[in-house]
Symmetry: D2
Subunit: 362 residues, 4 copies
């Protein structure tokens, strides 16, 4: 199932070592100004090889628009975006044809489909998220018309925690100055050192990222099965390596009392507001008007250089495995734009579903 | 959006203080044996008034089957189930018509739809989950044909943790002996005491529940947007009061190294297996064959007797609010069957989507 | 698949001889005034036993609203409507358990699902359309806010053609004066005589009905797979006994030249219009603003008293069959409100999808 | 809405004068052998410039596969197909920027989306159907595994009727020998002469095509809203220029008596069959096992050289219009492979939905 959304629909396609990857965005209202640069800007944030802590696979990740945009404005017809795969080196994968890498989807794809494209993870590669980011760039552009901004930052890597507290969208822009996308400069340095240490050791680390959507109006979300938090949880959990999603106080809420958890209502400037935002901007699956706050737990990249045990699925013999290739020792910095894209896709779709953005034209 | 699922589809309806609530299950294969008792058994586990730690609203929650089942077997046509609302007392809600209760969906429903059924939370009431449980009972029956069992237990309430470690489905059946559905008897006693203390104080508490699906075959899940973990996250997050979902090691995985997180493959009896299950039975969004393990963080019930601050949405004046009514001081024991139902709905739908259950007839 | 629609969604349920039949309407905007009478009025037009040319099964077809409407206005939550089955006499069906009636769905249900509710056609009975009409009544009410009216009439029965030409919605109201719902009084008399003759002979007849939607604004329809004409064709063809659907000039257009078929554009009162309407109000799958005109070919009711040949599916022996029961000798008069309902459901859903009706509230 | 299907899903994209057009096929089972030639073969049947009676636009219509197929077999992942637009000449369209062509979708796209790609009809061009045919080629390959064949022929052009009666799939292969795809050689000659006469006169003609699916097993179709005939009607009506769809006896059934219309059941070789096939292979929306027979009425191509009246949508002044460009004087021969493709897409999707084809792998 490679389509996301009910009205703002995104279909992604592409294997890691195939000729290209891409997305079709269907249901984007007509009249929205989109330039290739709007898309490229976001792709560059996800691009491999952007720093010393990411994979060295060298992809320009240039997006080409094949339909749906005419004279730099959307037509209301499907927008087809294609990204060529350039730096494909499939040789290192030959020995993996029958040996599933631990922690990867190799085995489950084999079991489900009977065979698989074993080169670079095929469809289950993180490469698939490039198409999501391209589509997310269009969703962000659409949301920008309503002043909505979706921004992410890394709040923890391998136990090292950011102490940064944000108040405005501008605060979170600081993350772009750090190669691990952490707004807390001291923590960022520590995180970078940790990741480089792991890389050298042939191991990998995980962490936590936080995504915030600012200026989401009240009324976004479709109870009871299309609740905003439910859609966000699905969207974020659909990103490879994500093992948990929380909204607002999340797991912390399990230890609070009702009187501590409930955000009291008040009025400010003629508008109803909550005094605190432990709910993370969502009540009953509908946005309250406060910032929507999600956090994702990201597991360490499964591709590690250290020796691991696996099995040959044909012979059922155990084999020792040491993954060479070019891999991210920590996916957190590159997952931030992907998670932002998913949040933007959810919001664009639900805003249209809720009548807050006109589906036909902006 | 009140329909769940692509092939095994469940539509729920009903307000808390309306005449009835119900579900239509469409896409259940023909020939499945279902008796009213199969449904009632599950509804009784969710029923209010089942113990001293749940709300005292008295509902028999008797399910009546109106279609889709003939001579105790499914026809392949939509199954309509209705549950009458019996113990409705709307008087205490009159003062809440314009005053949204903190932590509830009152304000967001008002903002989205322009008005609302203010009696007992209307559609946003936990009463809505009775229909989910009824539908889940049918999904469980369908999964039982493949020996799949979905079982839940409470692992934490207000910081009190269960030390119970399960190995088999039978182990988790122990939860039914505890009124807080905790398998660890000592922790259970502590939890009960805690909840009763909170109830007396007019406050409420949250906690964590774990749901496990045993004997799920490999191959369940539809990458990249219908991944098993993504669907589970959405399904569980769509339940009121759930603020976080994790799969397998979940948030803990953020602190592990790759070599610690990866479950090594091995073979046992001619079958590929993993030696550990930190992945929680899912890789690349597809089941591995190991137990599927999810945990949900549940916030404290927002209805508390202690005084809170809110606002009259008409006058924008702050008002003090003390919620009387009959409420659960802790929803954990009653949320377990609801969460199990959602996991069962996800599995039934994805099993059919993956060709592992025939959609037309069993 | 018993749900219609993407945003304005209708799920129907119920077997002919089960306890009840019903519909859940999900996605109806909040704040729409709906009384039980609005629904009853339409059900009465479809009701069996309304005249000498319909079946004598006696059903009051009383709709009961169980959710989604509070103080006579929609809440934005699912509207559950139930219609009890009253005059159920299943005895005459016992001999049909293993003998599929020619022209009925008995055999195909048996083949698909492995068994069936053989009493009165089960789910494949025309009784199923009562739920569609109830849902359609709500769609009509919603469309009425935009002055859209959906009206149908019978234009042919067994070759007897109506010569009536309509110009306004009011013209088509004349159909309600005729028990065969034909606006041409002379043709109506002939049709009635024909149907009564067939009834006496134990045979049945078919015909053609035309449904017109007035005041549909331009812009309704979602190319390329959700085109207005495509959705109408599906909706109308989903009604039992319908064997063909045409839009505008329909089959006649196959014999016209381009210069004859093309409706020239002009302007009137500052609005673009077409001088003729051979397109039936739809170009490129999107409404033009002219009346939307559909016609359906309806086969003769398959239940006939005359002796027919069938087979016992268990023994594979041929058997002679004469269907007693109470059946419509011609379904045309009763199919008109059903077809109107389907057109209304299509329009309500596509109006919302196109941003022409707000999905959250009226 | 540019996605077709529930499980076997096809998303098409592309404007007539944009850089390319294409399709993403998602949900095709893994392990299906597909070569570029399988796709090309079908594209060549739809290709412009294939004979004297089609448009002279010169497109090689070469399909390139970008994902989802590895070592000539499907992976179970989305299959992305791209077809470059080569012979694009947009100059003749400049004067049409504000003048909608009668019978075309120019005006309705303008009205719905606020603006449009005016070059060559944009998304509403018949060029869009190339992507459908490419996707249909894959569906046909999948259906071939079950011996299902979908074949079409032209049965009428501008009143000239084919007298051909088919008995087997092979009979219909004859259509490929005629440049108007008519199996009756004499009628074919007459049709060709008629089309060439119209072309010379600067006019166009319509006609009727028939599509037949052979060897469809019983059980295909999902009542009550996903009936086989309903899905076929939608699929076929979604093709530009189609104004009517009929199944089996279609409009003729409106004039038959029940005793004439009902196909009697019998048994042959231990199988239940019908003695006749007036139902067109469908009862109650489910296939009977007999050939599935559909006919479509196709309007004359709206692009005609003769002078027509339209309007400038900016000035609202009437203008005389004579369409130059390169157009089909009769679209019937080229619509046959498109209609076949749509029938194949419907069958592939419903076969999977009904459990008759495994969704994961062949």
């Amino acid at each position: 199932m490679n389509t996301w959304g009910r009205l703002f629909r995104v279909t992604t396609w592409g294997e890691s070592h195939g000729p290209a990857t891409g997305a079709v965005i269907d249901g984007c209202p007509a009249g929205l100004r989109i330039t290739p640069e709007d898309i490229q800007k976001e792709l560059d944030r996800r691009r491999p090889g952007q720093s010393s802590v990411t994979t060295q696979r060298s992809e320009s990740d240039t997006a080409q628009i094949l339909s749906g945009i005419f004279e730099d404005k959307t037509l209301g017809t499907p927008i087809s975006i294609i990204i060529q795969n350039e730096d494909v080196d499939s040789r290192t994968y030959d020995e993996l044809r029958y040996v599933p890498r631990p922690g990867h989807a190799d085995y489950t794809f084999q079991a489900k489909y009977g065979w698989r494209d074993h080169r670079g993870g095929g469809r289950a590669s993180a490469r698939e998220t490039a198409a999501r980011v391209a589509a997310g760039a269009i969703a962000k552009q659409l949301l920008a018309l309503r002043d909505i901004r979706v921004l992410g930052h890394v709040v923890e890597i391998h136990g090292i925690q950011s102490k940064f507290v944000f108040e405005s969208p501008e605060d979170l822009m600081l993350a772009e100055r750090s190669i691990v996308r952490c707004c807390d400069a001291a923590a960022s340095d520590e995180m970078v050192a940790c990741v480089e240490r792991m890389k050298k050791a042939g191991d990998s680390v995980g962490g936590i990222a936080e995504i915030v959507a600012f200026n989401v109006p009240t009324g976004v979300g479709e109870p009871v099965f299309g609740k905003l938090d439910a859609e966000l949880a699905k969207a974020l959990m659909s990103v490879g390596a994500v093992k948990a999603v929380e909204i607002g106080a999340g797991f912390r809420s399990a230890r609070l009392k009702g009187t501590e958890m409930n955000d009291p209502f008040t009025a400010k400037g003629g508008q109803v507001e909550t005094k605190t935002n432990k709910a993370g901007g969502i009540l009953g699956g509908i946005s309250t008007g406060a910032p929507v706050v999600c956090r994702i737990a990201v597991k360490p990249t499964p591709s590690v250089g250290m020796q691991q045990t696996s099995i040959n699925v044909e012979t059922l013999q155990e084999v020792d495995l040491s993954i060479s290739g070019r891999h991210d020792p920590c996916i957190l910095p590159r997952i931030v734009p992907v998670a932002e894209a998913m949040v933007a896709l959810v919001l664009a779709d639900l805003m249209i579903q809720g009548g807050l953005i006109n589906p036909a034209r902006v």
